[in-house]
Amino acid sequence: MAIIEIRNLSKTYEYYKKQLGLWASVRGLFRREKLYKEAVKEINFTIDEGELVGFLGPNGAGKTTTLKMLSGILYPTSGEAKVLGHIPWKREPKYQKQFALVMGQKNQLWWDLPAMESFILNKEIYEVSDADFKKNLDELVELLDIKDILDVQVRKLSLGQRMKCELVAALLHKPKVLFLDEPTIGLDVVAQKNIRDFIKQYNQKNKTTIILTSHYMEDVKELCKRVIIIEEGKIGYDGDLVSLIEKYAPYKVLKITFEGEGVKEEDVSNFGEVHQFTPHSITLRVPREKAKNVARDILSSNLPVDDILIDEVDISDVVRKIFSNNQIKK
């Protein structure tokens, strides 16, 4: 069943041009040039119950804008969206009680008080019963292992501990839909892994529908079967994470080592695109369909080959490449 449905959703921001210099600033007091930025352009997708979808894209691609529209913080410029049958930007309490948004860069906890006080307030705001509150809290505290920090002022917690508390605050009302915007940002690898493991377990156990954005490929590799790549406001890819490689990495990687004297760069450059070179080991990029032939050619040439390995491009590299080269083609 589709929990989230988005049709032709667009969002254009207004902003003002600020020219350099003092005189321009003075002029700007009276007349400003209004500019528009299309942050999200006619995107479409649907997400089913219990899915955990990775939302990827470089900074400013429109990920957060999309999540904000789905949370009802922003009105779209055009298009439609339905989450759990509600139009998010109507901000109906009935919808608000069924989802949660966690932003790694912003916190909702009361900074000067122990996290527990914020939990209790959320309990009242979301009208969670005493019994459910206790049950959910115990479960979350157990899963995240934060029993001993509940009565510490939030400001005194480490970033990782705070993120865990943020997650608890967001999940106490058992949302059916969860939007996670960079939940692991700024965390060390151990803390990242803890949060990741938690999200995974929580999703499996509660069948919560989750959209996750992250800059860390590890998060995505670990958690998401399906990814949606958004770039310059458009969806460039929507599908399985594994098929991403086939689509966007039309090559394979040949890792070859040489014996004895080794080789010179010009000896190997006509076999394919040389990626890394030392006289004793090279990495070549060759078109997917030619990989076997090139390997055979190298082996049968008079180069002093010691070993040869045909490999897929690493998925992180694929995504990195997509982000850095704006290479998404429709």
Binding site: E14, Y15, Y75, K106, D112, S118, L121, E124, I125, Q153
Partner: protein, 265 residues
């Protein structure tokens, strides 16, 4: 509603976490009232009355206007609203099933309670200290009416602060506007001196603004310069202004959100 009580509770705890927090504001204000009392005492040295105010009435006016104003201040709550808007912390509230306006009005109230207690003790001490120069005139019905007026004034101030804070939707920096409005408001409300000292035309115009009803009229009532019935009328007008302000704030909020949504902070 329990959630509002918890918000107040949290805000009081937060004030404790900061030890004195905003209560620190109140200490500097003792200096302010002393300056005003000294100044007017000098003015009255060779004069019997000014616009019907004897020296004792004038000093009483100033001290009680000062006292009432600190019982009803929001301690620059504008800044909290503006910060929510500028930093995007407002997002956290927009996704929750609770009204931001009501939430913040509750936060504002929890925030002042400790300071209110300190101000009350401190100001009563000052009033006792100056007792020889003050007029004490209150009966039960007057005190009840005054409390009602001051409660409405407080609510008015909270809404006004929230409204000024909402300006942050359009301009990122509100401290200048806040300061200018604060001075203007003090002037119009009769906080600095009784507004009858102003030219008649200005006084008449001023009666069309809500601010006289937040300070001048209550003090007049206290000093017995207006009748109980006139006081009641003042309260009625003040309540009307409160309602009007609420409507205005709602409209400003709606437009502000539209702007917020189009800029996407």
């Amino acid at each position: 509603m329990k959630k509002y009580w918890i918000i107040i509770n949290n805000e009081i705890q937060r004030q404790f976490a900061y030890r004195i927090g905003i209560a620190a504001y109140s200490f500097g204000n003792i200096a302010e009232v002393i300056v005003m009392v000294v100044l007017w005492s000098i003015v009255y040295r060779n004069i019997e009355t000014i616009h019907g105010y004897t020296a004792k009435e004038m000093v009483s006016y100033l001290v009680f206007a000062w006292f009432f104003s600190f019982l009803t201040t929001t301690y620059a709550f504008e800044a909290n609203i503006a910060k929510d808007i500028q930093t995007g912390a407002l997002n956290n509230m927009l996704v929750k099933p609770i009204s931001y306006l009501r939430y913040m009005a509750t936060v504002a109230t929890g925030r002042i309670l400790i300071a209110l207690l300190i101000v009350l003790i401190q100001d009563i001490l000052i009033i006792l200290l100056l007792r020889g120069r003050l007029i004490f005139s209150a009966d039960v019905s007057k005190i009840v009416l005054l409390l009602a007026m001051l409660s409405v004034t407080y609510l008015f101030n909270v809404l006004f602060s929230i409204g000024i804070g909402f300006l942050a939707f359009w301009t990122t920096e509100i401290s200048g506007i806040y300061y200018a409005l604060k001075v203007l408001r003090n002037f119009l409300s009769g906080y600095y001196f009784p507004i009858v000292l102003l030219p008649v035309a200005l006084v008449k115009i001023n009666l069309f603004f809500p601010f006289v009803y937040t300070a001048y009229i209550p003090v007049q009532l206290y000093l017995g310069k207006i009748s109980f019935a006139e006081g009641l009328r003042g309260l009625a007008i003040e309540i009307l202004w409160l309602v009007a302000l609420y409507v205005i704030i709602k409209i400003v909020w709606r437009f502000g959100l539209k702007k917020y949504e189009s800029v996407g902070i």
